[in-house]
Protein backbone atom coordinates (compact mmCIF):
# COMPACT_ATOMS: atom_id res chain seq x y z
CA UNK A 1 0.00 0.00 0.00
CA UNK A 2 1.38 3.39 -1.04
CA UNK A 3 0.50 6.65 0.65
CA UNK A 4 1.22 10.07 -0.74
CA UNK A 5 0.15 13.53 -1.75
CA UNK A 6 -1.44 14.96 -4.84
CA UNK A 7 -1.64 18.63 -5.60
CA UNK A 8 -3.41 20.72 -8.21
CA UNK A 9 -0.92 23.59 -7.79
CA UNK A 10 -3.50 26.33 -7.31
CA UNK A 11 -2.50 29.84 -6.27
CA UNK A 12 -5.27 30.72 -3.83
CA UNK A 13 -5.63 33.69 -1.51
CA UNK A 14 -5.55 32.81 2.18
CA UNK A 15 -9.06 33.88 3.24
CA UNK A 16 -7.99 34.55 6.83
CA UNK A 17 -5.45 37.26 5.97
CA UNK A 18 -5.94 38.02 2.26
CA UNK A 19 -2.36 37.04 1.44
CA UNK A 20 -1.85 35.56 -2.02
CA UNK A 21 1.44 33.79 -2.70
CA UNK A 22 3.30 34.74 -5.86
CA UNK A 23 3.71 32.10 -8.55
CA UNK A 24 7.37 31.86 -7.59
CA UNK A 25 6.50 31.29 -3.92
CA UNK A 26 3.92 28.68 -4.83
CA UNK A 27 6.29 26.81 -7.14
CA UNK A 28 8.99 26.75 -4.47
CA UNK A 29 6.36 25.66 -1.93
CA UNK A 30 5.49 22.67 -4.13
CA UNK A 31 9.11 21.56 -4.02
CA UNK A 32 9.27 22.06 -0.24
CA UNK A 33 6.07 20.04 0.19
CA UNK A 34 7.40 17.20 -1.97
CA UNK A 35 10.65 17.03 -0.01
CA UNK A 36 8.67 17.12 3.23
CA UNK A 37 6.58 14.20 1.96
CA UNK A 38 9.71 12.09 1.69
CA UNK A 39 11.00 13.31 5.06
CA UNK A 40 7.82 12.25 6.90
CA UNK A 41 7.81 8.83 5.24
CA UNK A 42 5.22 9.20 2.51
CA UNK A 43 5.70 7.18 -0.68
CA UNK A 44 4.29 9.29 -3.52
CA UNK A 45 4.11 12.89 -4.67
CA UNK A 46 1.77 13.52 -7.61
CA UNK A 47 1.56 16.85 -9.40
CA UNK A 48 -1.27 18.21 -11.56
CA UNK A 49 -1.00 19.78 -15.01
CA UNK A 50 -2.85 22.96 -15.91
CA UNK A 51 -2.63 25.60 -18.59
CA UNK A 52 -4.64 28.38 -17.05
CA UNK A 53 -4.50 30.67 -14.03
CA UNK A 54 -4.61 30.34 -11.04
CA UNK A 55 -2.54 27.15 -11.46
CA UNK A 56 1.26 27.14 -11.76
CA UNK A 57 2.03 23.57 -12.82
CA UNK A 58 2.11 23.64 -16.61
CA UNK A 59 5.31 21.58 -16.86
CA UNK A 60 5.18 18.64 -14.43
CA UNK A 61 8.20 16.66 -15.70
CA UNK A 62 10.43 19.72 -15.22
CA UNK A 63 9.23 20.11 -11.65
CA UNK A 64 9.35 16.41 -10.89
CA UNK A 65 12.90 16.08 -12.24
CA UNK A 66 13.98 18.91 -9.95
CA UNK A 67 12.32 17.13 -7.02
CA UNK A 68 13.82 13.78 -8.05
CA UNK A 69 17.28 15.32 -7.84
CA UNK A 70 16.64 16.29 -4.21
CA UNK A 71 14.96 13.12 -2.97
CA UNK A 72 16.01 9.50 -2.53
CA UNK A 73 12.95 7.28 -2.29
CA UNK A 74 9.92 9.38 -3.19
CA UNK A 75 7.90 8.03 -6.12
CA UNK A 76 6.98 10.88 -8.47
CA UNK A 77 3.69 10.87 -10.30
CA UNK A 78 1.12 13.16 -11.87
CA UNK A 79 -2.47 14.08 -11.13
CA UNK A 80 -3.09 14.22 -13.97
CA UNK A 81 -1.13 14.31 -17.24
CA UNK A 82 -3.38 15.59 -20.01
CA UNK A 83 -3.56 12.71 -22.49
CA UNK A 84 -6.06 14.70 -24.57
CA UNK A 85 -4.20 17.90 -25.39
CA UNK A 86 -0.57 16.76 -25.10
CA UNK A 87 1.17 15.03 -27.96
CA UNK A 88 1.52 11.39 -26.85
CA UNK A 89 4.97 11.30 -28.47
CA UNK A 90 6.15 14.07 -26.17
CA UNK A 91 4.59 12.35 -23.13
CA UNK A 92 6.48 9.15 -24.07
CA UNK A 93 9.76 11.05 -24.33
CA UNK A 94 9.34 13.30 -21.29
CA UNK A 95 8.37 10.55 -18.88
CA UNK A 96 10.96 8.07 -20.16
CA UNK A 97 13.58 10.78 -19.61
CA UNK A 98 12.26 11.44 -16.11
CA UNK A 99 12.23 7.71 -15.45
CA UNK A 100 15.96 7.46 -16.26
CA UNK A 101 16.93 10.56 -14.30
CA UNK A 102 14.98 9.39 -11.23
CA UNK A 103 16.24 5.78 -11.48
CA UNK A 104 12.74 4.48 -12.00
CA UNK A 105 10.97 6.53 -9.34
CA UNK A 106 8.21 7.69 -11.66
CA UNK A 107 4.76 6.70 -12.80
CA UNK A 108 2.06 8.72 -14.52
CA UNK A 109 -1.68 9.26 -14.24
CA UNK A 110 -3.61 10.01 -17.40
CA UNK A 111 -6.51 12.45 -17.29
CA UNK A 112 -8.62 14.33 -19.78
CA UNK A 113 -8.77 17.78 -18.23
CA UNK A 114 -12.10 19.54 -17.85
CA UNK A 115 -11.21 23.15 -18.64
CA UNK A 116 -13.04 23.88 -21.89
CA UNK A 117 -10.74 26.52 -23.44
CA UNK A 118 -7.58 24.44 -22.91
CA UNK A 119 -8.67 22.12 -25.72
CA UNK A 120 -8.90 24.81 -28.44
CA UNK A 121 -5.75 26.48 -27.09
CA UNK A 122 -3.97 23.25 -27.97
CA UNK A 123 -5.82 22.78 -31.23
CA UNK A 124 -8.30 20.21 -29.94
CA UNK A 125 -12.06 19.97 -29.34
CA UNK A 126 -13.42 19.09 -25.89
CA UNK A 127 -16.20 17.05 -27.51
CA UNK A 128 -13.42 14.67 -28.63
CA UNK A 129 -12.24 14.28 -25.02
CA UNK A 130 -12.86 10.54 -24.73
CA UNK A 131 -11.75 9.62 -28.28
CA UNK A 132 -8.54 11.68 -27.74
CA UNK A 133 -7.85 9.92 -24.43
CA UNK A 134 -8.38 6.53 -26.05
CA UNK A 135 -6.39 7.08 -29.24
CA UNK A 136 -3.53 9.09 -27.73
CA UNK A 137 -2.98 6.51 -25.03
CA UNK A 138 -3.05 3.69 -27.58
CA UNK A 139 -0.15 5.44 -29.32
CA UNK A 140 1.71 6.17 -26.07
CA UNK A 141 1.39 2.52 -25.05
CA UNK A 142 2.77 1.43 -28.43
CA UNK A 143 5.66 3.90 -28.27
CA UNK A 144 6.72 2.50 -24.91
CA UNK A 145 6.22 -1.17 -25.67
CA UNK A 146 7.55 -1.32 -29.26
CA UNK A 147 10.91 -0.05 -30.47
CA UNK A 148 10.04 1.06 -33.98
CA UNK A 149 6.54 2.33 -34.50
CA UNK A 150 4.40 2.84 -37.59
CA UNK A 151 1.23 4.64 -36.68
CA UNK A 152 -1.81 6.28 -38.14
CA UNK A 153 -4.72 7.70 -36.21
CA UNK A 154 -7.38 10.33 -36.42
CA UNK A 155 -5.92 13.07 -34.25
CA UNK A 156 -2.21 13.14 -34.92
CA UNK A 157 0.10 13.24 -37.91
CA UNK A 158 1.09 9.65 -38.86
CA UNK A 159 4.43 8.11 -37.87
CA UNK A 160 6.65 5.88 -40.00
CA UNK A 161 9.67 4.18 -38.50
CA UNK A 162 9.63 6.30 -35.38
CA UNK A 163 11.47 5.37 -32.19
CA UNK A 164 10.70 7.31 -29.05
CA UNK A 165 13.88 8.07 -27.12
CA UNK A 166 15.14 7.41 -24.56
CA UNK A 167 13.72 3.90 -24.38
CA UNK A 168 12.03 3.18 -21.01
CA UNK A 169 14.44 2.28 -18.20
CA UNK A 170 15.21 -1.49 -18.31
CA UNK A 171 12.66 -1.63 -21.15
CA UNK A 172 9.88 -1.37 -18.56
CA UNK A 173 7.67 1.70 -19.08
CA UNK A 174 6.48 3.80 -16.16
CA UNK A 175 3.34 2.36 -14.59
CA UNK A 176 0.21 4.06 -15.88
CA UNK A 177 -2.87 5.06 -13.91
CA UNK A 178 -6.01 6.32 -15.57
CA UNK A 179 -7.80 8.96 -13.54
CA UNK A 180 -11.54 9.43 -13.79
CA UNK A 181 -14.39 10.98 -11.88
CA UNK A 182 -17.31 9.42 -13.70
CA UNK A 183 -16.56 7.98 -17.16
CA UNK A 184 -17.01 4.22 -17.60
CA UNK A 185 -15.01 4.48 -20.85
CA UNK A 186 -11.88 5.34 -18.86
CA UNK A 187 -12.49 2.50 -16.38
CA UNK A 188 -12.87 0.20 -19.38
CA UNK A 189 -9.63 1.50 -20.91
CA UNK A 190 -7.69 1.00 -17.66
CA UNK A 191 -9.10 -2.53 -17.35
CA UNK A 192 -8.28 -3.40 -20.98
CA UNK A 193 -4.59 -2.57 -20.56
CA UNK A 194 -4.36 -3.94 -17.03
CA UNK A 195 -3.31 -0.45 -15.92
CA UNK A 196 -4.21 1.23 -12.65
CA UNK A 197 -7.47 3.08 -12.09
CA UNK A 198 -7.44 6.17 -9.91
CA UNK A 199 -10.88 7.32 -8.81
CA UNK A 200 -10.62 10.94 -7.83
CA UNK A 201 -13.32 10.73 -5.23
CA UNK A 202 -12.63 13.87 -3.20
CA UNK A 203 -15.66 15.85 -4.32
CA UNK A 204 -18.30 13.14 -4.65
CA UNK A 205 -20.05 10.56 -2.44
CA UNK A 206 -18.56 7.09 -2.06
CA UNK A 207 -21.60 5.26 -3.44
CA UNK A 208 -20.75 6.48 -6.93
CA UNK A 209 -17.14 5.28 -6.65
CA UNK A 210 -18.06 1.92 -5.17
CA UNK A 211 -19.95 1.25 -8.40
CA UNK A 212 -17.29 2.73 -10.71
CA UNK A 213 -14.42 0.87 -9.04
CA UNK A 214 -16.50 -2.31 -8.94
CA UNK A 215 -16.99 -1.97 -12.68
CA UNK A 216 -13.24 -1.49 -13.28
CA UNK A 217 -12.38 -4.52 -11.13
CA UNK A 218 -14.87 -6.68 -12.97
CA UNK A 219 -13.56 -5.60 -16.40
CA UNK A 220 -9.92 -6.06 -15.25
CA UNK A 221 -10.75 -9.69 -14.57
CA UNK A 222 -12.69 -9.97 -17.84
CA UNK A 223 -9.61 -8.90 -19.82
CA UNK A 224 -7.54 -11.59 -18.10
CA UNK A 225 -5.14 -9.54 -16.00
CA UNK A 226 -5.99 -11.32 -12.75
CA UNK A 227 -8.90 -11.56 -10.39
CA UNK A 228 -11.06 -8.54 -9.66
CA UNK A 229 -9.42 -8.04 -6.27
CA UNK A 230 -6.01 -7.89 -7.97
CA UNK A 231 -6.92 -4.83 -10.02
CA UNK A 232 -4.81 -1.76 -9.20
CA UNK A 233 -6.93 0.89 -7.52
CA UNK A 234 -6.01 4.35 -6.25
CA UNK A 235 -8.15 6.77 -4.29
CA UNK A 236 -8.01 10.43 -3.36
CA UNK A 237 -8.60 11.98 0.01
CA UNK A 238 -8.53 15.18 2.01
CA UNK A 239 -7.86 15.79 5.66
CA UNK A 240 -7.21 18.60 8.10
CA UNK A 241 -6.05 17.64 11.57
CA UNK A 242 -5.34 19.09 14.98
CA UNK A 243 -4.91 17.27 18.27
CA UNK A 244 -8.32 18.49 19.39
CA UNK A 245 -11.04 17.83 16.86
CA UNK A 246 -12.80 21.16 17.43
CA UNK A 247 -9.56 23.09 16.85
CA UNK A 248 -9.26 21.47 13.43
CA UNK A 249 -12.83 22.41 12.54
CA UNK A 250 -12.43 26.01 13.71
CA UNK A 251 -9.15 26.51 11.91
CA UNK A 252 -10.19 24.85 8.65
CA UNK A 253 -13.70 26.29 8.33
CA UNK A 254 -12.77 29.64 6.72
CA UNK A 255 -10.62 27.79 4.18
CA UNK A 256 -13.45 25.37 3.45
CA UNK A 257 -16.08 28.11 3.19
CA UNK A 258 -14.02 29.99 0.60
CA UNK A 259 -12.38 27.08 -1.22
CA UNK A 260 -12.39 27.37 -5.03
CA UNK A 261 -14.29 24.15 -5.70
CA UNK A 262 -16.85 23.72 -2.94
CA UNK A 263 -16.75 27.07 -1.17
CA UNK A 264 -20.01 28.95 -0.64
CA UNK A 265 -21.87 25.69 -1.22
CA UNK A 266 -22.56 22.87 1.22
CA UNK A 267 -21.70 23.19 4.88
CA UNK A 268 -18.44 21.72 6.15
CA UNK A 269 -20.52 19.21 8.13
CA UNK A 270 -22.52 18.03 5.08
CA UNK A 271 -19.44 17.87 2.87
CA UNK A 272 -17.40 15.85 5.35
CA UNK A 273 -20.29 13.44 5.68
CA UNK A 274 -20.78 13.03 1.92
CA UNK A 275 -17.15 13.03 0.71
CA UNK A 276 -13.81 11.69 2.06
CA UNK A 277 -12.87 15.12 3.48
CA UNK A 278 -12.15 14.55 7.17
CA UNK A 279 -11.59 17.44 9.55
CA UNK A 280 -10.76 16.51 13.12
CA UNK A 281 -8.26 14.62 15.22
CA UNK A 282 -5.63 12.29 13.71
CA UNK A 283 -7.62 9.37 15.14
CA UNK A 284 -10.74 10.47 13.23
CA UNK A 285 -8.72 10.54 10.00
CA UNK A 286 -7.31 7.09 10.77
CA UNK A 287 -10.79 5.68 11.42
CA UNK A 288 -12.23 7.22 8.26
CA UNK A 289 -9.51 6.05 5.89
CA UNK A 290 -9.05 2.64 7.49
CA UNK A 291 -12.69 2.01 6.60
CA UNK A 292 -12.18 2.77 2.88
CA UNK A 293 -11.24 -0.82 2.05
CA UNK A 294 -14.63 -1.94 3.33
CA UNK A 295 -16.25 0.04 0.52
CA UNK A 296 -13.70 -0.22 -2.29
CA UNK A 297 -11.81 -3.44 -1.52
CA UNK A 298 -8.09 -3.66 -0.73
CA UNK A 299 -6.38 -1.03 -2.82
CA UNK A 300 -2.90 0.08 -3.74
CA UNK A 301 -2.56 3.84 -3.47
CA UNK A 302 -4.04 6.52 -1.25
CA UNK A 303 -3.26 10.12 -2.18
CA UNK A 304 -4.17 13.10 -0.01
CA UNK A 305 -4.81 16.65 -1.17
CA UNK A 306 -3.25 18.76 1.59
CA UNK A 307 -2.10 22.07 0.05
CA UNK A 308 -5.19 23.79 -1.23
CA UNK A 309 -7.80 26.43 -0.49
CA UNK A 310 -5.11 28.99 0.39
CA UNK A 311 -3.65 27.13 3.38
CA UNK A 312 -0.27 28.71 4.18
CA UNK A 313 2.85 26.60 3.61
CA UNK A 314 3.63 26.51 7.33
CA UNK A 315 0.23 24.95 8.07
CA UNK A 316 0.59 22.47 5.20
CA UNK A 317 3.97 21.33 6.54
CA UNK A 318 2.46 20.88 10.03
CA UNK A 319 -0.30 18.80 8.46
CA UNK A 320 2.29 16.64 6.70
CA UNK A 321 4.06 16.04 10.03
CA UNK A 322 0.80 14.80 11.53
CA UNK A 323 -0.07 12.76 8.43
CA UNK A 324 3.36 11.13 8.15
CA UNK A 325 4.06 10.58 11.83
CA UNK A 326 0.67 9.86 13.40
CA UNK A 327 -1.75 8.79 10.67
CA UNK A 328 -0.01 6.87 7.89
CA UNK A 329 2.00 4.49 10.13
CA UNK A 330 -1.26 3.38 11.76
CA UNK A 331 -3.03 3.15 8.41
CA UNK A 332 -0.21 0.96 7.06
CA UNK A 333 -0.84 -1.50 9.89
CA UNK A 334 -4.61 -1.32 9.46
CA UNK A 335 -4.42 -1.94 5.71
CA UNK A 336 -1.99 -4.84 6.20
CA UNK A 337 -4.44 -6.65 8.51
CA UNK A 338 -6.15 -9.55 6.74
CA UNK A 339 -4.96 -8.32 3.36
CA UNK A 340 -4.97 -11.42 1.13
CA UNK A 341 -1.50 -12.45 -0.07
CA UNK A 342 -2.60 -12.44 -3.72
CA UNK A 343 -3.57 -8.74 -3.62
CA UNK A 344 -0.63 -6.86 -5.14
CA UNK A 345 1.16 -3.93 -3.50
CA UNK A 346 1.33 -0.56 -5.18
CA UNK A 347 3.43 -0.93 -8.35
CA UNK A 348 7.05 0.29 -8.43
CA UNK A 349 9.73 0.06 -11.08
CA UNK A 350 11.37 -2.81 -9.16
CA UNK A 351 8.10 -4.74 -8.92
CA UNK A 352 7.40 -4.24 -12.63
CA UNK A 353 10.90 -5.42 -13.60
CA UNK A 354 10.48 -8.46 -11.33
CA UNK A 355 7.07 -9.24 -12.84
CA UNK A 356 8.47 -8.92 -16.36
CA UNK A 357 11.41 -11.25 -15.53
CA UNK A 358 9.09 -13.77 -13.86
CA UNK A 359 6.98 -13.97 -17.02
CA UNK A 360 10.10 -14.34 -19.17
CA UNK A 361 11.35 -17.15 -16.91
CA UNK A 362 8.01 -18.94 -17.14
CA UNK A 363 8.19 -18.80 -20.92
CA UNK A 364 11.76 -20.09 -20.85
CA UNK A 365 10.79 -22.99 -18.60
CA UNK A 366 7.74 -23.70 -20.71
CA UNK A 367 9.86 -23.81 -23.86
CA UNK A 368 12.42 -26.14 -22.32
CA UNK A 369 9.79 -28.54 -21.08
CA UNK A 370 7.86 -28.27 -24.32
CA UNK A 371 10.72 -29.56 -26.48
CA UNK A 372 10.98 -33.14 -25.14
CA UNK A 373 7.21 -33.49 -25.29
CA UNK A 374 7.29 -32.66 -28.96
CA UNK A 375 10.08 -35.17 -29.51
CA UNK A 376 8.10 -37.75 -27.57
CA UNK A 377 5.09 -36.91 -29.64
CA UNK A 378 6.96 -37.63 -32.84
CA UNK A 379 8.13 -40.93 -31.46
Amino acid sequence: MQFGLFTVSDVTTDPTNDITPTEHERIKALVTIAKKAEEVGLDVFALGEHHNEPFVSSSPTTTLAYIAAQTEKLLLSTATTLITTNDPVKIAEDFAMLQHLSDGRVDVMMGRGNTGPVYPWFGKDIRDGIPLAIENYALLHKLWSEHTVDWQGKFRTPLQGFTSTPRPLDDVPPFVWHGSIRSPEIAEQAAYYGDGFFANNIFWPKEHYMKLIGYYRQRFEHYGHGTADQAIVGLGGQAFMRTKSQDAVNEFRPYFDNAPVYGHGPSLEDFTEQTPLTVGSPQQVIDRYASMREYFGDYQRQLFLMDHAGLPLKTVLEQLDILGEEVVPVLRKEFAKDRPAHVPDGPTHASLVAARDAVAEQFAVAEQSAVPELVDGRN
Partner: protein
Protein backbone atom coordinates in the same frame (compact mmCIF):
# COMPACT_ATOMS: atom_id res chain seq x y z
CA UNK B 1 -53.47 -4.44 -12.40
CA UNK B 2 -50.65 -2.37 -13.83
CA UNK B 3 -48.85 0.28 -11.81
CA UNK B 4 -47.24 3.42 -13.18
CA UNK B 5 -45.08 6.03 -11.49
CA UNK B 6 -45.97 9.70 -11.70
CA UNK B 7 -43.59 12.44 -10.57
CA UNK B 8 -44.83 15.93 -9.80
CA UNK B 9 -42.44 18.88 -9.57
CA UNK B 10 -43.79 22.06 -8.05
CA UNK B 11 -41.56 25.14 -8.05
CA UNK B 12 -43.79 27.48 -6.06
CA UNK B 13 -41.97 29.50 -3.44
CA UNK B 14 -44.73 30.69 -1.11
CA UNK B 15 -46.58 28.43 1.29
CA UNK B 16 -49.35 27.78 0.56
CA UNK B 17 -48.67 28.29 -3.14
CA UNK B 18 -51.02 28.47 -6.10
CA UNK B 19 -48.37 26.55 -8.07
CA UNK B 20 -48.75 23.61 -5.69
CA UNK B 21 -52.52 24.01 -5.86
CA UNK B 22 -52.39 23.70 -9.66
CA UNK B 23 -49.98 20.76 -9.39
CA UNK B 24 -52.36 18.96 -7.03
CA UNK B 25 -55.34 19.53 -9.34
CA UNK B 26 -53.41 18.20 -12.33
CA UNK B 27 -52.17 15.22 -10.32
CA UNK B 28 -55.63 14.30 -9.10
CA UNK B 29 -57.10 14.58 -12.59
CA UNK B 30 -54.32 12.42 -14.07
CA UNK B 31 -54.61 9.78 -11.34
CA UNK B 32 -58.39 9.68 -11.86
CA UNK B 33 -58.01 9.14 -15.61
CA UNK B 34 -55.52 6.34 -15.08
CA UNK B 35 -57.66 4.61 -12.46
CA UNK B 36 -60.70 4.77 -14.75
CA UNK B 37 -58.75 2.49 -17.06
CA UNK B 38 -57.49 0.19 -14.35
CA UNK B 39 -54.01 1.65 -13.93
CA UNK B 40 -52.68 2.15 -10.41
CA UNK B 41 -50.44 5.14 -9.84
CA UNK B 42 -47.62 5.82 -7.41
CA UNK B 43 -47.28 9.57 -7.05
CA UNK B 44 -44.14 11.36 -5.82
CA UNK B 45 -44.53 15.09 -5.24
CA UNK B 46 -41.35 17.14 -5.19
CA UNK B 47 -41.52 20.61 -3.68
CA UNK B 48 -38.45 22.37 -5.01
CA UNK B 49 -38.54 24.88 -2.15
CA UNK B 50 -37.52 22.04 0.20
CA UNK B 51 -34.56 21.25 -2.08
CA UNK B 52 -33.43 24.80 -2.85
CA UNK B 53 -30.18 24.55 -0.85
CA UNK B 54 -29.41 21.10 -2.22
CA UNK B 55 -29.97 22.23 -5.81
CA UNK B 56 -27.58 25.16 -5.33
CA UNK B 57 -24.98 22.91 -3.71
CA UNK B 58 -25.26 20.49 -6.61
CA UNK B 59 -24.65 23.34 -9.07
CA UNK B 60 -21.49 24.25 -7.14
CA UNK B 61 -20.06 20.82 -6.32
CA UNK B 62 -21.37 18.68 -9.16
CA UNK B 63 -23.01 16.06 -6.95
CA UNK B 64 -26.44 15.67 -5.40
CA UNK B 65 -27.11 15.27 -1.69
CA UNK B 66 -28.96 12.05 -0.79
CA UNK B 67 -32.23 14.01 -0.48
CA UNK B 68 -31.83 15.63 -3.89
CA UNK B 69 -30.69 12.36 -5.46
CA UNK B 70 -33.92 10.72 -4.30
CA UNK B 71 -35.91 13.47 -6.03
CA UNK B 72 -33.84 13.18 -9.22
CA UNK B 73 -34.33 9.42 -9.26
CA UNK B 74 -38.08 9.84 -8.77
CA UNK B 75 -38.23 12.14 -11.82
CA UNK B 76 -35.92 10.21 -14.15
CA UNK B 77 -37.40 6.79 -13.34
CA UNK B 78 -41.03 7.88 -13.68
CA UNK B 79 -43.57 7.10 -16.39
CA UNK B 80 -44.82 10.66 -16.45
CA UNK B 81 -43.94 14.08 -15.08
CA UNK B 82 -46.15 17.00 -14.15
CA UNK B 83 -43.92 20.09 -14.09
CA UNK B 84 -45.39 23.26 -12.64
CA UNK B 85 -43.55 26.55 -12.19
CA UNK B 86 -44.50 30.10 -11.40
CA UNK B 87 -43.68 32.50 -14.26
CA UNK B 88 -41.11 35.02 -13.06
CA UNK B 89 -39.92 37.84 -15.32
CA UNK B 90 -41.28 36.24 -18.52
CA UNK B 91 -40.07 32.67 -17.88
CA UNK B 92 -39.87 29.65 -15.55
CA UNK B 93 -38.48 30.47 -12.13
CA UNK B 94 -34.75 30.30 -11.51
CA UNK B 95 -35.20 27.51 -8.99
CA UNK B 96 -37.16 25.46 -11.51
CA UNK B 97 -34.46 25.89 -14.16
CA UNK B 98 -31.69 25.14 -11.65
CA UNK B 99 -33.41 21.87 -10.80
CA UNK B 100 -33.68 20.97 -14.47
CA UNK B 101 -29.99 21.90 -14.87
CA UNK B 102 -28.89 19.26 -12.37
CA UNK B 103 -30.85 16.49 -14.09
CA UNK B 104 -28.70 14.30 -16.34
CA UNK B 105 -29.68 15.67 -19.79
CA UNK B 106 -30.01 12.17 -21.25
CA UNK B 107 -32.28 10.88 -18.50
CA UNK B 108 -35.62 12.39 -19.58
CA UNK B 109 -35.65 10.91 -23.08
CA UNK B 110 -39.17 9.72 -24.01
CA UNK B 111 -40.61 10.86 -20.68
CA UNK B 112 -44.24 12.07 -21.02
CA UNK B 113 -44.46 15.56 -19.51
CA UNK B 114 -47.36 17.83 -18.72
CA UNK B 115 -46.20 21.44 -18.48
CA UNK B 116 -48.09 23.96 -16.36
CA UNK B 117 -47.48 27.39 -14.89
CA UNK B 118 -48.99 30.03 -12.67
CA UNK B 119 -48.80 33.78 -12.95
CA UNK B 120 -50.44 37.01 -11.90
CA UNK B 121 -52.11 37.76 -15.24
CA UNK B 122 -53.06 35.89 -18.41
CA UNK B 123 -50.54 37.95 -20.37
CA UNK B 124 -47.70 35.52 -19.54
CA UNK B 125 -49.47 32.35 -20.62
CA UNK B 126 -47.32 31.97 -23.74
CA UNK B 127 -44.29 31.38 -21.49
CA UNK B 128 -45.45 27.75 -21.48
CA UNK B 129 -44.90 27.56 -25.23
CA UNK B 130 -41.80 29.69 -25.71
CA UNK B 131 -39.93 28.59 -22.55
CA UNK B 132 -41.25 25.39 -20.95
CA UNK B 133 -42.00 23.44 -24.14
CA UNK B 134 -38.60 23.98 -25.83
CA UNK B 135 -36.83 23.16 -22.56
CA UNK B 136 -38.35 19.70 -22.43
CA UNK B 137 -38.12 19.34 -26.19
CA UNK B 138 -34.36 19.80 -25.91
CA UNK B 139 -34.28 17.00 -23.33
CA UNK B 140 -36.13 14.67 -25.75
CA UNK B 141 -39.11 14.43 -23.43
CA UNK B 142 -42.60 14.08 -24.93
CA UNK B 143 -44.63 17.15 -23.99
CA UNK B 144 -48.41 16.76 -24.22
CA UNK B 145 -50.18 19.27 -26.51
CA UNK B 146 -52.15 21.00 -23.77
CA UNK B 147 -50.16 23.13 -21.37
CA UNK B 148 -52.07 24.54 -18.42
CA UNK B 149 -51.58 28.13 -17.38
CA UNK B 150 -53.43 29.46 -14.35
CA UNK B 151 -53.60 33.20 -13.76
CA UNK B 152 -54.95 34.54 -10.47
CA UNK B 153 -58.29 35.25 -12.13
CA UNK B 154 -58.64 31.60 -13.24
CA UNK B 155 -59.20 30.53 -9.67
CA UNK B 156 -62.46 32.49 -9.68
CA UNK B 157 -63.72 31.53 -13.14
CA UNK B 158 -66.75 29.41 -14.00
CA UNK B 159 -66.85 26.03 -15.72
CA UNK B 160 -67.35 26.87 -19.37
CA UNK B 161 -65.42 25.08 -22.11
CA UNK B 162 -62.30 27.26 -21.70
CA UNK B 163 -62.23 27.19 -17.92
CA UNK B 164 -59.24 26.08 -15.84
CA UNK B 165 -60.92 22.83 -14.78
CA UNK B 166 -61.67 22.04 -18.39
CA UNK B 167 -58.05 22.64 -19.43
CA UNK B 168 -56.83 20.53 -16.49
CA UNK B 169 -59.07 17.69 -17.59
CA UNK B 170 -57.90 17.79 -21.18
CA UNK B 171 -54.20 17.93 -20.26
CA UNK B 172 -54.60 15.13 -17.69
CA UNK B 173 -56.29 12.95 -20.31
CA UNK B 174 -53.43 13.49 -22.74
CA UNK B 175 -50.81 12.70 -20.11
CA UNK B 176 -52.68 9.64 -18.79
CA UNK B 177 -52.72 8.09 -22.27
CA UNK B 178 -48.94 8.34 -22.57
CA UNK B 179 -48.24 7.27 -18.97
CA UNK B 180 -50.30 4.12 -19.43
CA UNK B 181 -48.11 3.12 -22.40
CA UNK B 182 -44.81 3.97 -20.73
CA UNK B 183 -42.38 1.28 -19.58
CA UNK B 184 -39.80 3.72 -18.22
CA UNK B 185 -40.32 2.86 -14.54
CA UNK B 186 -39.78 -0.85 -15.18
CA UNK B 187 -36.74 -0.39 -17.45
CA UNK B 188 -33.38 -1.29 -15.93
CA UNK B 189 -30.67 1.21 -16.89
CA UNK B 190 -26.99 0.31 -17.06
CA UNK B 191 -25.04 3.27 -15.66
CA UNK B 192 -21.87 1.87 -17.24
CA UNK B 193 -23.26 1.27 -20.70
CA UNK B 194 -20.47 2.13 -23.14
CA UNK B 195 -21.31 4.10 -26.27
CA UNK B 196 -22.13 1.96 -29.27
CA UNK B 197 -18.98 0.97 -31.12
CA UNK B 198 -16.68 1.95 -28.25
CA UNK B 199 -13.25 0.34 -28.38
CA UNK B 200 -10.75 0.71 -25.52
CA UNK B 201 -7.96 1.12 -28.08
CA UNK B 202 -9.78 3.52 -30.41
CA UNK B 203 -10.82 3.25 -34.04
CA UNK B 204 -7.25 2.87 -35.27
CA UNK B 205 -6.03 0.74 -32.40
CA UNK B 206 -5.90 -2.51 -34.31
CA UNK B 207 -3.01 -1.33 -36.47
Amino acid sequence: MTTRKLAVVSAGLSQPSSTRLLADRLTQATVDRLKENGTEVEVTVIELRDLAQDVTNNLLTGFASPKLQAALDAVTESDGLIAVTPIFTTSYSGLFKSFVDVIDPDSLTDLPVLIAATGGTERHSLALDYAMRPLFGYLHAVVVPTGVYAASSDWGSGSDSSSLSNRIGRAAGELATLVRESDRSSTVRDPFALPKGFSPVGGFGAQ
